[in-house]
Amino acid sequence: MDDRGLIVIIKQAQGGDKIAMAKLLEIFHPLLYKNSMLGGRFDEDLYQELSINLIHCINSFQFVPDSRIYQSFEQALKLNPHFKGEQEE
């Protein structure tokens, strides 16, 4: 899945789409599984708690980017030879 597709899914999940939320849970399954190991064993209760946390986390996520990222990106585009010609046009 590309980055734009992910954003669409996240926004759908935040809007209450259960299928989108299930997809996100599937994407983060390895992370949840890794963090649910207790004493070298997989703990189902912990997995459930973490899944609930993940759902809260997705619902509460707000994208507030730092403006310096875009400044840095613009500078990089100016310096990059691939895009120089494009800008001049």
Binding site: D3, N35, L50, L54, F83
Partner: protein, 183 residues
């Protein structure tokens, strides 16, 4: 910041090179590229946020589970209907036999008394207390570690060492005393 941009450009240029498609044609214009970058930053922020939240909540939950295990014991007690006090239920402990321990305890002293055929040494050993006999026998003859004995007796390692030295000194002085008497 610049690392984020560098990773994005590297990823995009790399995919474009491998598919041998001209960069200008894939990214129709700069606006398209900016949109891609937007999505990329969104993804990085989202993944970072989720990863951190899950990691810390997992640590917090694990800590809670551990403290519960440490502080709370499982109880078999049940409360009967119409009776408010709980009935104490116990599991029988079949692992340790206390009579065996008692026998073992008496054998340490007996074994210590029969250590040497020499009556002088045997007499010196008999003058020790039961505790000193046991510690001497187990430390020197059986070669058990001070740490293990200390844990069993509920004293420190230094305490065991002190007891051992006192016992040995007592045996030595007894032997010297008896030698002098003989001479």
């Amino acid at each position: 910041m610049s690392q984020l941009v560098a990773n994005f450009l590297k990823q995009h240029l790399h995919t474009d090179e491998t598919s041998s498609v001209d960069i200008v044609s894939t990214h129709m214009n700069q606006a398209n590229l900016v949109k891609d970058f937007d999505a990329y930053v969104y993804k990085v922020y989202f993944y970072g946020y989720v990863k951190k939240t899950i990691r810390y909540s997992s640590l917090r939950l694990k800590q809670r589970v551990r403290s519960l295990q440490e502080n709370e014991a499982l109880s078999l007690n049940i409360i009967d209907e119409g009776f408010h006090e709980e009935r104490i239920n116990c599991l029988a402990d079949t692992t340790s036999d206390h009579t065996e321990n008692l026998n073992q305890f008496t054998t340490y002293q007996a074994a210590c008394n029969e250590l040497s055929p020499d009556p002088m040494i045997s007499k010196a050993l008999q003058s020790l207390t039961d505790r000193q006999k046991e510690i001497l026998y187990r430390c020197i003859v059986l070669g058990e570690s001070d740490t293990r004995l200390a844990a069993e007796k509920g004293v420190t390692k230094q305490g065991i060492n002190k007891l051992k030295h006192t016992a040995l000194n007592k045996v030595r002085s007894q032997i010297v005393y008896q030698c002098k008497r003989v001479v």
